[in-house]
């Protein structure tokens, strides 16, 4: 089974970040209001302008992203908890080494 988000929505799988400081200390789970990392699983085809033209999505499947802790709606697909959110809830894209390691 797969899931196609409508319009400018994206399907995201949360990634537990390694909760360490620069110096290597582990950060407890109770630091609750931080944004979170995730990987884009699938994306909608984009919102449409008044002219009917599609606004292309700025993220694509595989992108490693950050989003606010309270963004999105949790859904369960085949027993896995995923998130659906609007592209506008995505704060930005992580690039480089660490992201590559995680992918």
């Amino acid at each position: 089974m797969s899931f196609k988000p409508l319009h400018d929505r994206v399907l995201v799988r949360r990634i537990e970040s390694e909760d360490k400081t620069k110096g290597g200390l582990i950060i407890p789970d109770s630091a609750k209001e931080k944004p979170q990392e995730g990987e884009i699983i699938s994306v909608g085809e984009g919102a449409r302008k008044d002219s009917g033209e599609l606004i292309p999505m700025s993220v694509k499947p595989g992108d490693r992203v950050l989003f606010g802790k309270w963004s999105g709606t949790e859904i369960k697909l085949e027993g896995e908890e995923l998130l659906i959110m609007k592209e506008s809830d995505i704060l930005g894209i992580l690039t480089g080494n660490k992201a590559a390691k995680a992918a």
Copy 2:
């Protein structure tokens, strides 16, 4: 009797999803804030742009969809509980095996 939603509304029949985890464990009904699955029964002809042109609907009767738990208005048609919601309340479309099985 049938029901034609106005504008960009859709008529949806809720589908009780099989509440199992990947491993086969049954999930109790009390997990209340999850979005839900449904099948599109009928759709309006779409909203209209300022130019008068119709914006075509992105879902069609028979589509298996996910929507937020609190989306839509419950109505009763011939004794059956259905939901009317706007297309914008639909999070996305389920495709593939499981959806086929359910249809």
Copy 3:
């Protein structure tokens, strides 16, 4: 006396639906948050676009419609309680046998 709704408003007479389940059980009146049925009595000439052009109404007198329980403003015309609401509060149109019987 008659009443002409302004712009995109409609005048609606509530219809008490037969509160029965498919199996014929009567549903008590206390199920209070359900949308309701009504018959369109008269309609405004429609809202206007910026260009001044009328946006034609999607419902017409005689249509059997559903609307949210809390939609509209109650008015009394010649002792009869009616509802004035915007067309956008109309969820959809009932068609076919039952509607015909009721008309």
Copy 4:
């Protein structure tokens, strides 16, 4: 002294409706949330579109109208209590016998 409403506002004099049911029973004054009748006293020249063009008013002095109970701002002109409201607060126009009688 006269009063010229600005833009799309109208000046309205409330009309105490005959509070009787069809069967002739008098309805007590405590039925407080009903819309009310009024007569249009004067109207503004209308709102303006971005193009600068006037949007003509849909009501005119002498019209018998219904409006929501809580619509408008009460003002006192020469000791008489009147209401100023926007045209969009007018629900519709009463026509025919009863209105004629009242005018």
Copy 5:
């Protein structure tokens, strides 16, 4: 010292209206939610459309106007309490005898 309101704002001096009913009875000051009379002292040059064109003001210095009791911001200019409000807070213009008397 003088004061030039910015954009579509106006500077207004409140006028204590003669609080009498038609029959000559004096109305106590505690009737607090009524709109109020004022005289326009100065006006801004008007808001601007997207095209950059000025939208001319609909009131001018000397106009006797009504406005909602809670409209505007009180300022003190050379010890005198005045009001600054947007033109859209002005309900309408008083014309004719009484206004003339007051001017």
Copy 6:
């Protein structure tokens, strides 16, 4: 160090007005909800229209202005408390003698 406000923001230095009535009485500091005077220190280059064109600012450095008591964000630049606010929070410009004296 200097500070360049972004877009349609302005940097303002509060001016303690002489709190005297016309008759010369001093007004206590506790009259808290009045707008306040200030001098414009620097201005942004203005907001932009959809066309990309700049909307020129209506105030300039040196202008003596009034603004609402709760407008703006307080910042500290080199130990001095200043205010940053949007041009739309400026109620108007003071001109003439008193303003000159203060400048």
Copy 7:
């Protein structure tokens, strides 16, 4: 690892300002509602107009900026606390000596 903000967002590193008055007194940390200083680390490519054209960002990496105390979302990148906010949350740009020293 680096981070690319989406659309008109910017990534900001807070700068602890030297909390001294002009006269050299140290200001305690409890002055909590003041805006804050930061340095722009990276910027998005800008929001898009309806035409699809990019609106260029008004800040660039290295800029020393002020923003409201409650602006932005805190994120942690490689153990360092940073802020993501919209360009519209940036109040203005600091220039000149002090900013240079800090860069």
